[in-house]
């Protein structure tokens, strides 16, 4: 494991290597060589399984962090590859040539975050959201509560009580809110 990580540091200048637990390590790599790194891990280091691709929105830093989770069945080890891309020009190399199932994830990321993956099949088809006409909903500048109230309405009489406080008042009024 350490030899692999040393080699990745040397060849791909990966950084922020973090051991999350004995069977999981994450590392960060530059956007332009990420696809090459993933290909290398799949073809030569037997990280043959793509667990998932997901995205984290760091709106304060102006970046999306893409997370590629790869699994090695021989070592029972999971490697998370973090790739930072710009929020303004969210575009990433497609890896659907490595794993065919990747295009489903990429289609979802395009829909939920607006990230482009040039060449990925059926990228612009609707996936979960049909006829979506707003900014992608998982971007953090999207105010989901405001949108929900504008489009779906708000039922009068709905109060967001804290259940514990509400029950104290409603069920035990004579005990000064004390349950005992």
């Amino acid at each position: 494991m350490n030899t692999l990580l040393e080699r990745l540091q040397r060849d791909f200048s990966v950084s922020e290597i973090t051991v999350r637990k004995p069977t999981m390590t994450t590392l960060k790599v530059d956007r332009d060589i990420a696809e090459r790194l993933i290909r290398e891990l799949r073809d030569r280091e037997t990280y043959t399984h793509l667990n998932f691709i997901t995205c984290i929105d760091y709106i304060e830093d102006g970046i999306f962090t893409l997370v590629y989770m790869l699994h090695n069945y021989e070592l029972n080890h999971t490697l998370g590859i973090h790739v930072d891309i710009s929020r303004d020009q969210a575009e990433m190399t497609s890896i659907h040539t490595l794993w065919a199932q990747a295009w489903t994830y990429q289609r979802e990321l395009r829909e939920m975050y607006g990230i482009r993956f040039p060449g990925s099949p059926r990228l612009d088809e609707d996936f979960c959201l049909e006829g979506w006409d707003q900014i992608p909903p998982m971007r953090r500048e999207f105010d989901t509560k405001k949108f929900s109230e504008e489009r779906f309405g708000h039922r009068e009489g709905r109060d967001n009580e804290v259940p514990r406080e509400h029950m104290k008042v409603e069920l035990y009024p004579n005990r000064g809110g004390d349950e005992k």
């Binding site: 609707d126 979960c128 959201l129 049909e130 006829g131 979506w132 006409d133 707003q134 909903p137 999207f142 989901t144 509560k145 949108f147 929900s148 109230e149 489009r151 779906f152 309405g153 708000h154 039922r155 009489g157 709905r158």
Partner: protein, 211 residues
Amino acid sequence: MFKKSLNTEDTLENAGLSVEEQQLFSNARPQAYEPYPIKAVEDFANWARANSLWILAFGTGCGAIELRPLMTARFDASRFGIAGRPTPRQSSVFVIGGYASVKTLKRIIRSYEQMQGPKFVICLGICPVNGGMYFDSYNTVNQFDQYLPVDLYITGCMPRPEVLVAGLMKLQKNIKAGKCDGANRYVENFDWYKKNQKSVIKNWDMPDYNW
């Protein structure tokens, strides 16, 4: 059933369909149900309807899991004349099992309109009432009765199958009393319901009424 209405005043536009498809689908409005003129006959019909409720096997949300135990030995819904049916054409009860997302709502509308009257809608769980835990979600409708008429609500998160049985018995009682007129309300306020439906379903690519 697939009639073409020639009277231009009461036809539907079917604007979501292409010109070729408009030739294939009916453009007639739904018709309201008229009860039998003799009250005793109508009462007998209602009694018969109440004792053969057939539930459409369409689980729209997490509550669909509560429909499965209904048919098993423990709850045994068959003793109330309740059965599951695989197709809307054979069903008379639509149980909205929990939250309805916009994508599902489109399928719910299509299925509901294909059901033959008299038909009844039960909303299971809190989500169709006011959104429940999805009150701020970007894809879950908050008030289901804006889009389809509801005959009975069963609230809770999640309601147990016992509550569902109790709700179905209550529905039977209401049907026998002639109070479940949701399908007629849908016909009478058809334009209002369609306006609400189209305000959330932005890719309306189906007929305005699915016969």
